[in-house]
Structure formats: structure tokens, C-alpha cells
Amino acid sequence: MIQFNEVYKRYAGQQEALSGLSFHLEKGEMAFLTGHSGAGKSTLLKLIALIERSTHGQVVVNNQNLGRLPKWKVPYYRRKIGLVFQDHNLLHDRTVFDNVALPLIIAGENHREIGRRVRAALDKVGLLGKERSQPIALSGGEQQRVGIARAVVNRPPVLLADEPTGNLDPLLSEEIMGLFEQFNQVGVTVFVASHDQELIGRLPYRRITLKNGRLATD
């Protein structure tokens, strides 16, 4: 599903953020991406989401060579990738419902389908009663769950999360990880970047560790 072949990424005027990275994530696999801060975790996820492009090497996602994807196709590609962020990236001028509906509105879904799928996604993350709330009125854990609902609402085959529990206490973190496991169980490929070794250690999934932009352990 996600394949890296000798991938290098260098930001202008800086050291290599990733060098010679190769790994392969199977379809329907769940894996953690870990390493010290600055090891290149975020950069790696950005390459998959096409927020950045690799300087060298091949990134193939869902049989699509990202290096060959023209710029105008990037939005359509991103619709098949669910993204979860540490700081949620919610829009505070609209309700929870409208936040979760955004990817569907962008994809041009019709009104009824949007209502149905947004409620289904909110139900999955346990926030069905909060659809009319403003994000600002929710707790950190709830906001993160809204972010997850938005990431999965158009049923992407790949879900990426960058430090999704970075701001949460252990109990909430575990809940969030439980959600990711649920999505993985229905076939979604889940790739979570986290430096929370304690949390990751308790879960039985593959671990890809980066050190200074190189693959340390897999």
C-alpha cells in the first residue's frame, strides 16, 4: 500500500531530513512510526500526503508513483488519504458537523449523503450528540476525535496520523489508539507517527523507527 524505495528528502539549505529510506507497508496493515523529535517522522508522513515531494527515490502509494503525479491531481489523490494532526486543524468558525462534512462538500457529495456519512463518522468516534457544537467548546480529546471523524468520513483506504495523542493524557491517548485499531480492523491501512514509547510498547503492531533520517529498526 505504501512503499518507499531509497527515498531522500533535503530541504533547501539544510541537512537531509530523510536519507535512503526504504520500507513497505502492506494493505490493511497498522504500523507506528517512531523516533526522536527531528528524526524525520513528520517529513515522511508529508511525503505520503504529498505535502512535500521527495528529492530522490520513489514513493508509491496505492500503486500510484507519487513522483509522476502532476500537481493538479494532488487534491484528488489527497481525498484518498485521511490525515490526523496533533493540533487537530479544525475550523473554529463552524460547527462540528460542518468540520466533518468538509471533505464531502469538497468531493461534491449530495446533501443527503453528506448528512448520513457525517453522522456515521461522528457515531464511530462517539460524538454523535455534539454535531451542533462549536469545536472550541469541546475538550482536547473530543476535538481530536472530530479530527479523526473528518479524516475517515470519505472512507479513505489510508489513514495517517502525526502525533495524534501529543496533547492528550494517557487515558485519552489509549481511547484514540483504540479508534485507530477499529478502523484498521475494517481494512484501513493505518500509519501513526508517535514518540510515546510507553503507549506504543503496549500495542502489538509493527514499529518503524527513524534515527537522523535513516531507518534504525523495523
Binding site: 500526503a49 505535502i51 493538479w72 487534491p75 484528488y76 489523490y77 489527497r78 481525498r79 490525515l83 486543524n89 479544525l90 475550523l91 468558525d93 468538509l102 471533505p103 462538500i105 469538497i106 468531493a107 461534491g108 457529495e109 449530495n110 446533501h111 449523503e113 473528518r150
Partner: protein, 309 residues
Amino acid sequence: MALFNVDNYLLRHAQVALASLGDLWRQPLASLITVLVIGIALALPAGLYVLQNNIEQLSGQWQQATRISLFLKDNVKDGRGQQIAEQLSSWPDIKKVDFQSSTQSLQEFRDLSGLGEVLDSLPENPLPAVIIIEPVATVTANDAHADLLQRLAKLQEVDLAQLDMQWLQRLQKLNETGQRGIAVLAAMLSLSVLLVIGNTIRLAILNRKTEIKVIKLVGGTNAFVRRPFLYTGFWYGLLGGVIAWLTVLIALLIISGPVNQLAALYESQFSLHWLSGVLFIALPLCGLFLGVLGAWLAVGRHLSAIEPS
């Protein structure tokens, strides 16, 4: 991916259009100022255009009153003069011909000038016989005039054919100059409308930077991001155009009274042309075009700078 659905697409457009109108409504003062600036910038050239158009109508009326005077040579007898006048009246581009013998000319001059005694002391009549010609109304263009004048001057018995309308030509040139001036002014003010809208949209984009980033992250195309801003420009332009139209109408309403009185004093058929119908279409259309263009330029310039990172 969902199949492309025209109904959904149009519905989205309508929603975005309404939403951007709502955004303007939520900041009434700022929006009003922008719309007024656009309105006034459009009203100025439009008002001048109406004025210039009226002057053109007016000079057209005067041109129709043009007359050509043919001064005959001294040795031409009155009978011959009468004959020429009759011949001329059969020319297709001549409407009316009046023959005035040298005696009649003298009489007229005596009546008008009050120099009767002086004239009596002259040994002979110094005034020539004159044929006064009124061209048909269609002969109003300068070229046609010049052509007729030339043919008349070529007649053997004619000493001088004169069209006393130099001032009219000057007016016409002045009018043309005015026309150019208005065009230049309109271009400059259109540019300023573009800049005003561009700047307003730029601020709107900066205000919604986070939103744009998030939209791009969840797969929004540039067209999707651009759409609300284009509609914002659309509304600014459209409303500005309507304001411009109202401004011109009010200005005309204010000056129409004195203008009509003035026309009455000159016993002229002239009445102010409001052009309200033409402008009602043209001004909002113009504003709309400038609004969307300004927004497009601003979005194009700033959108690419906002990418998720």
C-alpha cells in the same frame, strides 16, 4: 469517487454565492465602503459619458441647421441668379434654396444695420447677390458638407461658397477630445476598481489562511478554494455597479431642471438623454467583470503562496 453531478455542482455554486453575500452582510461597514468606492469610481466615467453623449446630440442638432451661402459674382444678372437657384433646388442633397438679389441684400443690410444714410451715399451697391442653401438633413457629416461645398464653388457664376461652421467643427473636435479623455479616465478608474477589489480579496484570503490550508489538506482543488473569493468579487462589482448607476441617475436628476430651462431659453428641441436603460445593463456588468477579474488576479497571486506545511 462520486460521479460528477451537475445538480450538485450548481447547488454548490448557489450556496457559495449566497455564503459570500452573507459574509459581506456580516461586515456591513467595511463592505459598504468598498462598494461605495467601486460605485463612485464607475460613476465618474459613466456620468461624463452621458454628458458627452448629450453634447454630441446637441451639436448634431446644430449641424442640421447648417446653411451654405453662395455669393455670386458682381456681373451675374438677377435673372441668371434666379435660374441658378432653380437648378440647384433640383440637386438631391439640397433641401431648400433661397435667392436674394443684391438689391434685397442691400435692403436687408439697411434694415439690420441702421446705416441707411451712409449706404445712400455710396455710388453703387457693394453687396453681391446671394443664394442661401439648406442641405438635406442627411448631409450632416463633415465630408458630405465639404463635397457639396466644393461642387457649389465650382459653378462659374459663384464667387464664394461659404459654410460658416468652423466653430461647429471645433466643437466636434473638442467633443472627440472629450471622448478620448473619458476613455482614458475610464481605463484608469477601472484599474483602480481592480486594485480596490484585489486588495479587499487579498485581506479576505489572509483572514482565511487556516481555512485554505485545511481545505487543501483534505483534498480541495484550487478551483474550490478560489470559488468563494470570486463570488465575493462578483458581489462587490455587481453592487458597486448598481451604486454607480444610482449615483449617475441622482446626478442627472439634479442637473436636469436647469438644463431643460436652458434649452427652453434657446428654444431648442433638446432634452437630456438619461441613458438609464443602457447604463443599468452596462454598469453592473462592467462592475461584475472587474470584480471577478480583480478577485481572480488576487487569488491567483496569493493562493499559491498558501500551501499546507
